[in-house]
């Protein structure tokens, strides 16, 4: 179920996910620099 969708100007929802290198990646760790998030559809 999707809630209200965030749009430009809104606070970015936190991202806290496991990474392929075994570590963990958090959006909040990158505050102060731009961040590009690319959401894939599926692995192909």
């Amino acid at each position: 179920m999707l809630g209200r969708m965030p749009n430009a100007g809104d606070p970015a929802p936190e991202v806290d996910l496991p990474a392929a290198d075994g570590g963990r990646w958090r959006l909040s760790d990158h505050r102060g620099r731009p961040v590009v998030l690319i959401f894939h559809r599926h692995l192909a």
Binding site: A20, R33, I38, H40, A44
Partner: protein, 125 residues
Amino acid sequence: MRDRLDELGDAAVALVTFAPVRLLRGYRGRLGLPYPVLSDEERVVYRAYGLGRGPWWRVWGWSTVRAYGRLLRRGRRLRRVEGDTLQLGGDVVVGRDGRLVYVHRSTGPADRPPVEDLVAAVSRA
């Protein structure tokens, strides 16, 4: 995107998938990706950014057929698809202040923004 990373300045880039972590090591190495690949298996982050599932007729419609046709004509080999093919993707730029600068929610498989749009958004961030 990979070819234009130098245009993104100090921006961080991350690829989000819903594949299990155990599948990602091979994927990142196979594609030679220079940025982190993240696993959102439960799609919590997908939903938080408003990225849901598309209807089958849009995901597997003529625009998708044409897009795969172009890939095949360029000599690309199509691989077996893994995972939920109806999950839609998207591209997001977050500014230095933690606010969204740019949001593109794909309406179908062939719907991705030009890299120029992402580069421009990063320059505004």
